[in-house]
Amino acid sequence: MPGSDAFRALRWLSRGSGGLLSGAETTTQRCLARSFFRSMATESQSPADNLTREVPKPVWNPEPVKATTYSFPSMEPLRQVEYPQNHLLMPMRKDLLHRAVVYEGDMTRQGTASTKWRDDVHGSGRKLHPQKGTGKARVGDKKSPIRRGGGVAFGPHPRDFSSGLPRKIYDKAWRIALSYRYKRGQLTIIDNEIVLPENATPYLIEEIFKVNNWGKDFGRSTLITERLDENLFETVRKVGHHAKILDRLDVDVKDLLETGRLIIEKQALDRILAQHSHDLDMQPRKALY
């Protein structure tokens, strides 16, 4: 019988622990006694440990993440900037990243493949030969899908492949991707704009990438700028085996995960984070009377 077991345990505890229950703290005794009575029904572990240990308080203001900003061509560390933990120190969620990448892939599918069904094919609907009397199999018109030059049965037609993803998940995926880069030390934040001197050739980009170990041998790098500078983009794209360059509006989660490291303008990073933190800003809905 569980009731008698509990009583035996209680007796053992009062003897064995040298008067744990016989102490002056009556509150402890009361709590313990109550818990033992409950254990008769549920057989759960006694919360006696919790009473002696200090309960950890929840931290409401976690320490911000520090990141170094650099000046672009010289890569001089300029200052340290702070970001909230839920921006650049998100725990890894591969499943969310996968969903985001699939969602983007679906979104970017052109979906323009098109074939003609027998009604769409140009031509006459004349019966090729009479139904009876020829000794041949009965036929319809020339545009039948079993004939050469006929329509295509069950062929592709233009359609929209895009799938949906809850915005909270997508926004989280953006921050997870950036956090992943940050945690691996692959997020280089540029304080100023990414610009090159006028008339610079791809030789300069090659040199910069070589000195900083950003090139092909180190997994390529993605440069992300706030605005689209045609000359810069053209120059960088000539050394496409080392570098990839995108403006902020062109960046996807997939691009953040693709190459060895991200070199991103601070302004672009801030805007990306601001635009993808809807799930953080949301207030629980209140009833308005």
Binding site: S71, P73, S74, K183, A200, T201
Partner: protein, 379 residues
């Protein structure tokens, strides 16, 4: 030949007239008025005046009429320009080098079958066919060639620590030290001789070798922060202190090995004092300044999460040294380095999977098998 009657009628009234009036047909032909068109070709004849010239002479009544010699013809504007250019070119162009008389057929000539070794002419209009421009020089903040040896890394750490200590002691902005990419040799030598007390704080840890060095170092470092004339002043100070350090050099027991100016840290091989490694990097500004200067001197980059973890100079140096020895990619290599596993008598680590061949080899069976295979002619 009977003269033309018609012509004779013109000039010679009758055949019966006096013989003096007779004009030969050649002269008569000459005297005849000719149409202008027919005479045009004479215009440029070298020995004849052009028609227009003659007309002008007649109009003006002199042999040297004023105005353009030939307003209606002569060389065209293009022709004249071309002639001028030709003349200029001939003036400018140096005399062409005398062409050696090459033998038409060289005995040693062999027609090429592949392109190898042939002169490359023209290009495919790719960007790397064009040469570099002046703009394409990259000036990096840190060293372009990273330092990979332990000694120079310690030197860099020591130098950085001394500099930051000085800036702390002088109460100057810490980051301004980065404006001095490299010190003069005597200044560096003084820094090298400085000691850092272990477990000290940044503003009191520095121990100067002597009074003079302290004075000159303080003077030099006071120039650094924020004054535009700093480098010049520093050079002057360096010159000033050179004499002081000359004397010190004689006492120096650990002379640098190589004196090449290109070598980093003027050929010094290792730091004399490891005291800097104990300094803490808990203060955010000091840490940032230290890591910035250290990466400037060594060329190594500190990622943000690493910066967060570092709390002493020792850890910063250890990180860079750990970067030199990256974690092996193969698991076998990684396990082979594990000392705990090496000591175990029943564990062996191999780079490849063990097969029966390996077992045969170990047991001594391989020789017998091979001998048997040879005997049967299978090997």
């Amino acid at each position: 030949m009977r003269p033309s009657l018609r012509l004779l009628n013109l000039e010679v009234p009758s055949l019966q007239g006096p013989r003096a009036l007779y004009v030969c047909s050649g002269c008569r032909q000459e005297a005849r008025p000719r149409p202008i068109v027919a005479r045009q070709f004479l215009r440029h004849a070298s020995n004849a005046d052009s028609l227009s010239e003659r007309v002008r002479r007649k109009i003006w009544g002199t042999d040297n009429p004023p105005g353009v010699e030939d307003p209606y013809g002569g060389q065209g504007a293009l022709e004249r320009k071309f002639k001028n250019q030709q003349a200029q070119k001939q003036e400018q162009a140096p005399e062409p080098a005398p062409v050696e008389d090459l033998p038409l057929v060289d005995d040693s000539y062999e027609p090429a079958t592949t392109w190898k070794g042939l002169e490359r002419i023209g290009h495919l209009d790719r960007w790397n066919d064009a040469p570099r421009t002046e703009v394409d020089t990259y000036e990096s903040f840190s060293l372009k060639k990273k330092i990979y040896k332990k000694g120079p890394l310690n030197l860099a750490a020591h130098q950085t620590a001394v500099e930051i200590c000085m800036m702390h002691a002088l109460d100057k902005p810490l980051l301004s030290i980065c404006s001095v990419a490299e010190h003069e040799k005597p200044v560096f030598k003084m820094i090298w001789k400085c000691k850092i007390q272990p477990n000290g704080t940044w503003d009191k840890a520095l121990e100067y070798p002597n009074q003079e060095a302290e004075k000159s170092l303080v003077y030099i470092f006071e120039q650094i922060g924020g004054q535009p004339a700093a480098p010049v002043a520093e050079e002057a100070a360096a010159e000033q202190t050179e004499e002081d350090t000359e004397a010190l050099e004689l006492v120096d027991f650990n002379e640098p090995v190589s004196q090449t100016p290109i070598a980093p840290f003027f050929g010094y091989q290792d730091a004399r004092d490891p005291g800097c490694l104990t300094l803490p990097l808990t203060d955010a500004d000091t840490k940032f300044a230290f890591l910035k200067r250290f990466s400037q001197l060594t060329g190594h980059y500190f990622p943000d999460p690493v910066i967060h973890q570092i709390s002493t100079v020792q850890q910063a140096v250890a990180y860079v040294q750990g970067e030199l020895k990256p974690k092996p990619k193969k698991l076998a290599e990684h396990l082979a380095e594990n000392e705990g596993l090496q000591g175990m008598p029943n564990v062996k680590i191999f780079g490849k999977r063990r097969t029966t061949l390996h077992k045969d080899d170990e047991m001594g069976r391989k020789k017998i098998i091979e001998a048997e295979l040879r005997a049967r002619g299978l090997l």
